[in-house]
Amino acid sequence: MNLTQQLINGLVLGHAYALIAIGWTVLLGVARLVNFGHGQMYMLGAFMTWYLVSRLGLPYLVAIPVAMLAGVAVGYVMQRVMLRLTLAQDLVSIMIVTLGFGYVLHGAAGLVFGSTGQILETPLSTRDIYWGDLWFTWQDIAIVLVAIAFFAVLKYVIENTGVGRTARMVAEDPALSLLAGIDVKKVYLAVFAFEGAAVALAAALVAPRTPILTSMGFDEVIITFVVVVLGGIGSVTGSYVAGIVLGLFTAFFGALVSPAYATAAAFGVLIAVLVLRPGGLAVAPGGR
């Protein structure tokens, strides 16, 4: 085993995980909402990008924003349908509804894109970089850079701007925010639209690393869970760190033990953490 190569794999994978989990982090940390259809939204983003690039021949850089717009639409429709549940803070029903949405998205994607696996090729993923005996692609570099930039901007927006303050206020106390004249419904819709866009962006960047299937959402979502919970539910910095730790863990576990059980092992870590510290690894759960 080449240690440095695994380190690079782990770092790339870690940034990919963090990027995939960003929508959930905001949902949970900023609006106290959950989305069990997250994995299927990732799948949809990947297939939208694939369709736009390889079937319609659009440039990759044009396909990404279009896929993100589709993500916004899906997120908006989801939240529009369950707005009553959100306003009532009925988390149990929200979980089941989002699970139902994931199921519908899977069916719809199967209908449109078929059940065969596809490869999403981008101008970046096909260009390799060899550095001594190390190997990675330009796509990997793009993932790392976009993840870092996205997290930095997100942290800034949540902590230092009016938009971030409004969203945080709604999360803390929806009723009080309503009294303060904030359109709570609009904030919830916006947060879900953001989740849709963020996961589509992550899919457009990360999906070229592996073959894509309409059934893949089921696996993707567990990584997100682990990142979000380990990162200390809803903490932006925590998610970033947890993503990278999980990426390194998966890379080394896959190389040293077995790649087939890497997800299962990641889950084992999650269980251990939850039993020891139900609030996750962050010093102050929910802190930013």
Partner: protein
């Protein structure tokens, strides 16, 4: 209905239920569909006690279902256990699994609880598709026919399996009814609706949760037990989201905490899939949309909708009755 009338009514319903396949034409397709409805209804009742009574969403019930099927397959193929032996093994395995999961998730609530149960389901799927001991991605084949030698009972097809499926369903309905009237059932609903009051009344919420889990898991696992015989093979597809969505939809579609709710829910869903199917993908969209629409727009389920409509009709009728003499009187005045 008074309790004196309830038992005969239930008995009549049970007898009618037993002859349901004959009443529906008695074709092999009808038997096949009804056996599946009974099995999946039993599967859903296990989840029902968690979702409707305890008020949590367990996404790990597909694991109990698959566990029952896998234990049955292993014991019957490798050790040649008869169905009663495999049922006992299934129940023991489900109790152990539920105890473990219950302890792990003891302090977790709401979405973190659901998240962990969902993760358990995902991991179980990974393990089932990769572990050679339980057949890996091929699964286990060659499960023998459902045969209890000393009773002289042997079921080779759905027609012969129907009495077993129906008995299992009846037993489950009885257990669910007894559970809701038991101290545990009452405690569960109190923990769900008012945890503080529950604690003040001397109920330990964590203990109650584990106990409800221990009650619920063997029921769902027993459905897996019979499903293994019905299909004659088991594989990792038992852990797919389909079963989870089916269970959840069945539990909420008619209305929560209605004894026959999950059964009617499963019957509706399977009737659509078996007799009015539009192909796998469209059926998925239908099932998922049903789940979404009921939860988002019909908090009381279809039964709640019917009640609301009946109530509205009664009110309209009452209003027209109370206004009509009035108007005629006024006309007379004029």
């Amino acid at each position: 209905m008074s309790s004196a009338l309830k038992w005969p009514a239930a008995a009549i319903l049970a007898v009618a239920g037993f002859f349901a396949p004959v009443l529906l034409g008695g074709s092999p397709a009808v038997y096949a569909a009804l056996v599946l409805i009974a099995i999946f209804a039993v599967m859903s009742y296990g989840l029902d006690s968690i979702v409707s009574d305890l008020g949590e969403v367990s996404l790990a019930h597909t694991v109990f279902f698959a566990l029952g099927a896998y234990v049955t397959a292993l014991l019957s193929v490798r050790l040649e256990f008869n169905p009663l032996g495999t049922l006992a093994g299934t129940i023991v395995a489900a109790l152990i699994a539920a105890g473990l999961l219950g302890l792990i998730t003891l302090r977790l609530r709401e979405f973190v609880f659901s998240l962990v149960t969902y993760a358990v389901a995902v991991v179980a799927l990974t393990v089932a598709s990769n572990w050679e001991f339980i057949g890996g991605s091929d699964g286990l084949r060659g499960i023998p026919a459902f045969e209890i030698g000393w009773l002289g009972f042997r079921a080779v097809g759905d027609v012969e399996l129907w009495p077993v499926a129906f008995l299992l369903l009846l037993a489950t309905l009885y257990l669910m009814r007894a559970f809701r009237r038991s101290r545990l059932g009452q405690a569960a609903i109190m923990v769900h609706l008012n945890p503080r009051l529950a604690t003040m009344s001397g109920i330990d919420p964590q203990r109650t949760r584990v106990q409800v889990f221990l009650f619920s898991a063997p029921i769902t696992a027993a459905a897996g037990w019979l499903y293994a015989y019905q299909r004659a093979y088991v594989s990792a597809d038992l852990l797919e989201t389909y079963f989870l969505i089916l269970m959840l939809t069945a539990v909420v579609v008619i209305g929560r905490r209605l004894l026959l709710g999950p059964l009617i829910g499963v019957a509706l869903i399977l009737a659509q899939e078996k007799f009015w199917s539009f192909g796998g993908y469209v059926d998925r969209i239908i099932l998922g949309s049903l789940l979404i629409l009921v939860l988002a727009y019909l908090p009381g389920g279809l039964f709640g909708l019917v009640q609301t409509l009946a109530e509205a009709r009664r009110r309209v009728a009452a209003r027209s009755r109370s206004t009509s003499p009035h108007t005629t009187a006024r006309k007379a005045d004029a």
